[in-house]
Point group: C2
């Protein structure tokens, strides 16, 4: 069975997240249903990152096996047609080797977290960013973020429901930049614990507000205890922005 | 009666445009209803630009007269509270002199038109941009746009329902730039004819596709006839991005 690699964009608003759920519509279910209509074949679509409910994707990667060879462009157009009017789009399709696995072959995941820092509520970015009214110091947040970069036990930033065997992760990048009223947090790692990015962002908010110093950040990390870190930032601000693989 | 100047952001999707309509919900009606709840007073809100149905605003300006002095911050917070859950937000409120008129005092209007130029349909930018699948040459579009800059008879880019007395307008700026798959058209003038920006963008698309040259653009302008220019670009890509006033 030929294997295909899909690059996907979606608006997670109102969806139950990537993975099929007993209740709610998942991105996976929408895409599998579109393939069924296209191929008259049941398929299983496997993604690099199982994004949570309300989380968006700029470039999620997934793979699927089809019963026969198809033109990648035909697949993309047909699946996009059958996905309508869902806010899920196939950006790209390419044939992939059998050993390619969207999740297990991934060597890097990138996330973007968007904060809009202003007094007024969000009209255009409702469900697309975290609205924080208190002024945030993005430079202080960036300095605080550097405490987390590297190989650490991230238990303080790990959701209770996280299924990873180990809390040890290597965070390659955690940059905080401001452009006008928008603050972007960019995170990069081979993989993340469940809610890790949102928990790091929720904790960086304390630094941005001036309530926490870099030292408090270091203490929270060292505590290896979820209750030592800040809140979980809302899902709406999070975007899976890219997945990396070893060059073939 | 004290006069207040409001700066507004809105997502025009599903709304009937700025102006009160017999059918459909307008931005004006939403804001006036919010003021009624706040002040127990009927008000008329006057905007700088009467955006069409589906058109967005990053910084629309409007004015309103209230029966008594109020704290600008209190007005902003109260109106934003009463606007919920509409995708309309008051960014800023300031007291204004009696002679300030959001529409007639305006000396410049800026619009942004967003095109996403890619094969895949839009997931995150559905209703927020014009999706054009055929590759566009943004540099050619920019050169074509320069033909329109200056003082001209813009009849070829004027909607049949335009109520302006004269088709003569001075276009101060029409820039086309590309960043990745996104093409931004930025237009600036003291004022525009009805549908002028959308008609200019729809015509520039012909240049971007290589179907039209700068010479064709000049001919379309010289024709002073709507049928000589290109299509009206969809409302969803248009954003009123700013309004200028003489410094006091």
């Amino acid at each position: 069975m030929p294997r295909y690699r899909l690059t996907l964009e979606y608006d997670g608003t109102g969806l139950a997240g990537w993975q099929r759920q007993a209740t709610g519509v998942s991105v996976q279910a929408l895409i599998e249903a579109a393939f069924e209509k296209f191929c008259q074949q049941q398929v299983a679509v496997v993604a690099a990152g199982r994004t949570d409910a309300g989380v968006h994707a700029l470039a999620q990667v997934a793979h699927v096996d089809l019963s026969r060879l198809r033109d990648p462009e035909e697949i993309r157009n047909a699946i996009n047609f059958h996905l309508r009017p869902a806010r899920v789009a196939v950006l790209d399709v390419a044939q992939a080797p059998h050993e390619f696995h969207a999740r297990f072959s991934a060597t890097g995941r990138r996330y973007l977290y968007r904060i809009i820092n202003r007094r007024a509520p969000l009209a255009l970015d409702q469900d697309r960013a975290w609205a924080i009214t208190r002024p945030l110091d993005a430079e202080a947040m960036h300095r605080g973020a550097q405490v987390l970069v590297g190989h650490h036990d991230f238990s303080s930033f790990r959701d209770a429901q996280c299924q990873a065997k180990s809390p040890m992760k290597t965070l390659d990048r955690l940059d905080v930049t401001r452009l006008g009223e928008e603050i972007a947090v960019r995170a990069e790692a081979r993989s993340f614990l469940h809610h890790q990015v949102r928990n790091m962002v929720g904790t960086l908010k304390l630094v941005g507000e001036g309530k926490w110093t870099e030292m408090d950040m270091a203490k929270a990390l060292a505590a290896r205890n979820r209750s030592a870190a800040g809140q979980t930032a809302p899902a709406a601000g999070l975007y899976l922005s890219g997945v990396g693989y070893e060059p073939r």
